[in-house]
Structures are given as structure tokens and as C-alpha cells.
Symmetry: none
DNA sequence: GTGGTCTAGACCACG
DNA sequence: GTGGTCTAGACCACC
């Protein structure tokens, strides 16, 4: 499992884990039925308290994105496409809405905003490609 | 002063106040020299402890967005444009970056994102126009 | 009476008044028996609340540097030289002690510190000269 | 951590804490990465409310002198030298400026001031040497 | 276990 | 009248 933690970013660690795992599940980077890395193993790898990982997994279970099989571990759950799709778009929509609100307030033109947006997209896409090649 | 607080949002109240006041100052919705609502008055209105408001105002003073006139109150400070500008763009940039990260992760095409973004901008611009006409 | 107030300096206004009047009395710039500017007049001139001036004068009276003559006003008191002298040196000594403590802590060499000190002295001396010529 | 509080000095307690910790960090008396005394522990020792200590630590974090590691505690941050240096010199400069203003006002000659300054520096340097040997 | 936030209410400093 | 500080104690978030 590819997870990057920045303990100094201000975002709680368990949230960083949640977001990255959720993203990987929703985009299919993690397949249905695939087992999540064990709590202790991931915690050791990230140099993080096991309770932190456990908490993140707990939230993902609540969301229905993973399923617990007692004594064995957690697995990526099957989520119906008509449930998955809106989850994905809602997240993006909210972020775009926030950006729009700020840009309008700050008098940033749509063109300038869009140039920035595209720049960041390129960065993230190439970063993603690199990660995939490493696997 | 227009301030909306959601005590259940998880974001500390004083931070919500800071962000909203900062945005209003940077966007010029609050004019230079304008007096901020009094600590006790705002606290009463938001049904919040005066210290919470005071804390928020204190941070804004540290940022230099607000100036104290002892015994009188707090006022919107004059901020040099070359200081203000980067503060504004940084806020917009961060929001766009977040949106880009999500869109890439969720496989949302640039075209779809752009359509959404434009829609929200139109909404905010018309909302803004209405607010101005009311004044 | 020559008094410069900086309402934005962070130092309480009444303290700024106290310090400047005290300095002028101790250095003889204000003669024994000379009348202090009236509270209302000084307050108007400095664009400051009369109570602020009154408070400053009150402290000076407590220190014995000025004397109240009921119904007439406040006058520079006669202070014995053997009382005056230590007041003056103690003030300077304390400031130098603080500067020394910091300079040692911050590893600033005596030479560097002294160059700075002399620079500031020159500035203040010329400022003082200008003030005198204006009178 | 060596901290002396004078609750009767007029200077707010949280400011006294800030200044003393800042000085110890900038002078290297507190090493980079060293853990700050825990909020509750320091509060108990100074017989002060934990929030007061927390407030002080919070400001130091804003200044970038201190970093939080959530759930663990606060640590002396690594501050780039080119950022640290001006902070240090500004502190010394201000103290020297204040001393110069007083000395000029009180008609203390540069020679007398210099003698005093050197004396205090000697005192602080030997005190410092003693402290180092104790370690 | 750590630190952060909020409250209620007292008291102070400043004008 | 302003705002600032501090306390005591409750509660929360995070690890």
C-alpha cells in the first residue's frame, strides 16, 4: 500500500491515512477484496502509533469502504458503482466550490485560476505516474 | 459584520472567525479604517465566550490585518498592496491545489472540472453583485 | 512643553507622557517652579483623553517630581540633587544592564555593540538639538 | 527549563514565558530538537494556569521557534541561521537604542556608559561560563 | 499520555 | 466605555 505521511502538515495523521486509502479504493487502485496492510505493519512502516492506523481503518469501515473479517484482517469492500460515483464527484465539487468562492472574492480571473489549476493537475498526474512505475 | 459560525464543524470557533474576517478584509468587503464589531457584542451575537472572539482578533492583529486603538476598539489596518497581494493569491492557490489533487485522484477530466468551476464562479459573482446592490 | 506621542508604539500613552516629563525635569530642561501645561490643554494638543494626561500627572506627583497647588495647577517640584542623581543613573544603568545581558547571550561583541550604541546616541543628540532650536 | 516568573511585574505571565523561552532558544541554551517542558508540568511548577503556558507556547509556535508533535509534545524547532540572526540582532539593537535614549536624556557621557556596559558584560560572561561548567 | 478549545466569571489596564 | 489577562475546570482531538 502506497501511503505518504507528512507529520508536520497540520492535517491529523489518521485523516491523511483515511484520505489516501479512500482515494485508492474509489479510483480502483486498490481492488475489491484486496487485503489492507495490517495495522501493526503499516504503523511500523510509517513510524506512527498503531492506534492511529487503527482509528483510520475504523472510519473507513464505518464508511463501508472496507470490511472486517474477524481474526484475519480488513479487506476492500464491494461498493456499488451508483454509490461510488457520487462520493467521488462530491469531493471534487466541494473543493472546486471553495476555490471558486475564494477566487471570486480575491478578484482572480477565471483564466489565471485555470492556468494554476492545470499546472497543479500536471504535477499530480506526473507524480502519480512515477508512483505507478515504482510498483 | 457578517459572520457565520458552525460550532459543530470541528473547526475551532476562533479559527472560523479569523478566516471570515480575514477574507472580508482582503477582499475589501471591510474597508480600511472600519471598526471591527466589538468583542463583547460579537460574542453575544454568536453566543460565544468573549475570550474566543478576543483570541481571534488577537491573531488578526498579529497578522497585521487589524490595529488596536486602546480603549476605543479594533480597526481594519492599512495593509500595503505588495503585502496583501501575495496573501490573497496564496489562499486561492492552495484551494486550487487541493481541488487539483482530488480531481486527479478521482479521475475527473479537466473539462468537467472546468465546467463545474465556471458554474460556481458565476454563482458567486451574481451573489456578490446582489450584496453590493443591497448596500 | 515638548511631548511626542506615538499611539501605535505599544507603550501606554500615559507612560509615554510620564517618561518624557520626568526626563525633562531630571535633566533640568524644565525648571524648578515651572508650571506644567494644563491637563485639558495638553490633552487637546496630543489629541488624547484628558484622563490619560491626568493619570500621568498623578504618577509624577506620587514620585515627588511635581507638586499640586490646589486650584492653580501643577508645578515642577524642587528635588534635592542627592535624590535626583541616583534616579538618573539607575535608569541608565538598568537599560545598559539589559542590553549587556542580551548582547552576551546573543554573542554580540563589545565593539559591535558599542558602535551601535554610539550611532543611536548621535541620533538622539541631534534630535535633541533640533528640538532646542525650535524653541 | 529555567524560567522565573514575577506575577507582580505588570508584564503578562505568558509574555514573560515567551521572552525567556525565546531567549534560551536563540542563544542556544536550549538545543534544537529538545523537548519543551510539558504544559501541565510547567504550569504546576510556576503555579499558573495551564492555559497561560499553552498560550505562550502557542505564540512561540507561530514564530516558528517551536514545533508541535501531536500527542507527544513541543520541541525546539530548527530555525535557519539567516532567519535566526536578524531576530537576535534586533533584540540587542532595541535594548541598546533604549539605553542610548536614556543616556542622552540623562546627560550620561559615552565614557561612563561604556564603563558600565563593559562591567555588566563581564558579569554576564563569567556567569555564563559558570553555567557551562556546571553542565 | 500529550496539547487544544471553550466557558464563566473575576479582575486589570487603558482612555 | 474599550480590550486583555488569568483562573478553574470541563471536554475534545490526537497519538
Amino acid at each position: 500500500m502506497i501511503i505518504d505521511i507528512d507529520p508536520r502538515s497540520g492535517v491529523p495523521i489518521y485523516r491523511q491515512i483515511i484520505e489516501q486509502v479512500r482515494r485508492q479504493i474509489l479510483t480502483g487502485q486498490m481492488a475489491v477484496g484486496e487485503q489492507l496492510e495490517q495495522v501493526r505493519s503499516l504503523a511500523a512502516r510509517l513510524k506512527v502509533n498503531p492506534m492511529t492506523v487503527s482509528k483510520a481503518y475504523g472510519y473507513l469501515e464505518l464508511e463501508g469502504l472496507v470490511e472486517r473479517q474477524r481474526g484475519i484482517g480488513l479487506f476492500v469492500a464491494h461498493v456499488r458503482k451508483d454509490v461510488k460515483k457520487p462520493m467521488k464527484t462530491r469531493m471534487v465539487e466541494q473543493a472546486l466550490k471553495e476555490a471558486a468562492a475564494l477566487a471570486v472574492g480575491m478578484d482572480v480571473s477565471d483564466e489565471d485560476a485555470w492556468k494554476l489549476y492545470e499546472k497543479y493537475c500536471r504535477q499530480y498526474r506526473s507524480k502519480r505516474r512515477r508512483n505507478r512505475e515504482e510498483r
